[in-house]
């Protein structure tokens, strides 16, 4: 191999520059602004006081924040428990070849294509007892359903809405994972006399590990940060029943304009998501190795 003489210089840094600049504007600078807010008490742009970690202490002791944290965690857990098995089940049941494939894919993907606030509006109307189809049917069946007054009804409405909206994502990921399993595995299972359940348990499920890890992480992050849909449907109510962390945060930041506490809240919120995702990822990729 001939040695090509290469001039040594630092020009490569220029190639990285666009990334550095865009990341700075999209992530670093906004984040540092928030950090800046979180350690000051701001009365006006010219009148601010350094308070150190005071806001962090306040926020972490606030009963309303704690309640919202538990509520959001519970909501995410329920979302994962419903959406992951349901999504996998639908993906397994979907046609593998033929004209049914594009048809099923389009039908499944539809909810993903609808803007979030429109999803909220759809469900706000759908679940209404007087004019909404869903609420009306429930009432006809003898269920006293009213999401605006009953906190359980409100919770269920938001949960079902999220399942309807986001299970398709799990379905698409799982379906892609299933399609990548070579035929030979199914043939071997037939030769070995494996039942449909055994085929799922020992061939399909182990091979979905990768995509399900992604699905769980995505669904956790999104559901833990859920804002638009419950905001449109219930506005966090009745009472505090569907007041998730993000709704509470926006109330503090935009409603009360308490930038210091809101900054501290945001950073802690961010940190919790990072930690939980890290734990999920580590556990899911370590087990079964």
């Amino acid at each position: 191999m001939s040695e090509v003489a290469k001039p040594k210089n630092n020009r490569a840094w220029f190639l990285v520059l666009p990334v550095v600049v865009s990341v700075a504007f999209t992530a670093v600078i906004p984040l540092m602004t928030v950090v800046n807010f979180s350690v000051q008490d701001i009365f006006s742009p010219d009148d601010r006081v350094w308070v150190g970690l005071e806001w962090y202490r306040t926020i972490s002791r606030d009963p309303e924040v704690r309640a919202a944290f538990v509520r959001t965690l519970l909501f995410s857990a329920q979302v994962l428990l419903v959406e992951i098995p349901l999504g996998v089940a639908i993906a397994v049941a979907m046609p593998k070849r033929g004209i049914g494939v594009p048809f099923a894919l389009v039908v499944v993907a539809l909810p993903l294509l609808i803007p979030w606030n429109v999803v909220g509006t759809i469900w706000q109307i759908f679940a209404r007892g007087d004019i909404g189809l869903g609420g009306w049917v429930l009432r006809r069946l003898g269920v006293d359903f009213n999401y605006a007054l009953d906190s359980t009804d409100a919770w269920v409405t938001v949960l079902v809405m999220d399942v309807w909206h986001w299970t398709p994502l799990v379905v698409l990921l799982a379906y892609a994972g299933l399609r990548s399993i070579p035929d030979a595995y199914y043939q071997a299972a037939r030769i070995d006399g494996a039942s449909a359940w055994s085929t799922f348990r020992f061939i399909q499920l182990p091979r979905l590990r990768g995509v399900l890890t992604i699905a769980i992480l995505l669904r956790f992050m999104d559901s833990f940060m859920i804002y638009t849909e419950p905001f449109v449907v219930t506005g966090g109510g009745p009472g505090n029943a569907t007041s998730f962390l993000s709704i509470l945060l926006s109330k503090i930041a935009v409603g009360q304009f308490d930038l210091g506490p809101a900054g501290a809240f945001s950073l802690m919120y961010f940190l919790v998501i990072q930690v939980v995702c890290f734990v999920f990822f580590t556990v899911l990729t370590r087990t079964g190795r």
């Binding site: 070579p182 030979a184 595995y185 043939q187 071997a188 037939r190 030769i191 070995d192 006399g193 494996a194 039942s195 055994s198 020992f202 061939i203 182990p206 079964g288």
Partner: protein, 418 residues
């Protein structure tokens, strides 16, 4: 354990417009090792999947001994099948992998344990039973997938679909001898699919050559080499492949290659008795279905004609002779009773242990046809010189429509000397 019989088995993936496998009638004897040899896309895997029951043939019937299994689902056939790459339940231990087929059949725990240990002893996996199957190397993984088939009692046949594709070249020999050893110890009927002639010839008692969905010859390795029944077999087996020269059979039976009389044509009525011709003959017989007969051109017709016509009809043929049976002559006399050809030496390729003399036929219709001779190292043939080449009298064949129809022997007047 029983023989496996195919009766006019054919398969089409698209409802009959193209045939992946044309009607095949043959018997796989029990306890023998077969290699199913052919290029990619010739229907090898299709045939294998039909035997194992993963595919139901479009037409024809399959028998395991005296039980018809054409529509018997695959898990009731007691077939062991190994695929191109290791197929394992990779979350399970080696033990659980081996036990899986038995547990699915609800065997009692003690019997499962006994069988698993017996098979792991046979395969040399005893020390690996507790390991995760995914942590084994590719060769061992293939052994485990083979073991999942062998663990069942009364295995009808072991089918291997190019099982060494993913194995390191260095390990292939070891794996092949391991497979042979297992075959010797268990005595199962073994069908080994491959597109590698060395693998097929070294492994099998009998080689079945498949081309374009058709069995073109069945025979022992030496038979395929010495007496190819089909031009494809001549090309595909041997390195380099058989020389195929355009030729003409005259009215008197004289065979001329480009105006150069090589010898006399002798038809081969007894050829029809060999395995492959029996199969192609049946092909023509069962081919009364219009769609299939249309594809069964050439081969079937050729053998059919050979049987009915006593002599060889005049007309164009191909002369086929392997490079091993072509010898350049150093001037001087031509031995009596030896067919000869004249060609211009173009190059001599030194291959180490042997030389390949690359020559071009001189004159006539066959002008430009290549003739390759495989001779001992140190050949004296000069590039550019014209030479006579002697052809081994017993090993020069005539092919019509790619099927062997006869043999060339020296003319009565002593060789093919002009």
């Amino acid at each position: 354990m029983a023989e496996i019989r195919l009766e006019g088995v054919a398969h089409s993936y698209d409802g009959g417009s193209t045939w992946a496998l044309r009607p095949i009638t043959m018997t796989w004897e029990s306890r023998r090792a077969y290699a199913l040899l052919g290029p990619s896309g010739c229907g090898k895997t299709t045939l294998l999947n039909i035997i194992s029951g993963l595919l139901t043939p479009t037409q024809g019937r399959i028998w395991f001994g005296d039980r018809e299994v054409t529509h018997v689902p695959t898990h009731e056939r007691n077939i062991a099948q190994v695929f191109q790459f290791p197929v394992l339940y990779d979350g399970m231990s080696v033990y659980d992998n081996l036990a899986f087929p038995l547990r699915n059949r609800r065997w009692p725990k003690a019997e499962v344990d006994a069988r698993v240990h017996a098979v792991s002893r046979l395969l040399g996996l005893e020390d690996q039973l507790r390991r995760r199957s995914r942590s084994l190397d590719a060769g061992r993984q293939q052994i485990v997938s083979l073991g999942r088939g062998l663990v069942r009692s009364d295995v009808a046949a072991v089918l291997l679909d190019e099982p060494l594709t993913v194995i390191d070249p260095g390990l292939k020999w070891a794996m092949r001898s391991k497979l042979k050893e297992i075959h010797r110890d268990t005595g199962h009927t073994l069908i080994y699919v491959t597109h590698d002639q060395t693998e097929a010839l070294t492994f099998a008692d009998e080689v079945v050559v498949l081309a374009d969905g058709e069995v073109v010859q069945t025979g022992e390795p030496t038979e395929l080499f010495l007496e190819p029944a089909h031009e494809f077999v001549g090309h595909f087996i041997g390195s380099p492949g058989m020389n195929v020269l355009p030729a003409e059979v005259g009215d008197g039976g004289a065979v001329t290659v480009g105006g150069d009389t090589v010898g006399r044509a002798v038809p081969y009525p007894d050829d029809a008795a060999t395995g492959a011709d029996a199969a192609t003959g049946d092909d023509a017989a069962t081919g009364d279905d219009g769609a299939v007969a249309g594809h069964g051109d050439g081969a079937g017709d050729g053998t059919g004609g050979d049987r009915t016509v006593a002599g060889l009809a005049p007309g164009p043929v191909h002369v086929g002779v392997r490079p091993e049976f072509v010898t350049p002559l150093d001037g001087g006399g031509v031995p009596a009773g030896v067919p000869t050809l004249t060609a211009r030496v173009r190059a001599v390729r030194r291959m180490g242990a042997y030389d390949l003399v690359d020559a071009v036929l001189a004159g006539g219709a066959a002008d430009g046809s290549r003739l390759v001779a495989k001779v001992g190292a140190g050949s004296t043939a000069e590039p550019g010189s014209e030479r006579r080449f002697a052809l081994d009298p017993g090993r020069v064949y005539l092919f019509r429509d790619a099927v062997r129809v006869g043999r060339v022997v020296a003319s009565a007047n002593g060789g093919g000397a002009p």
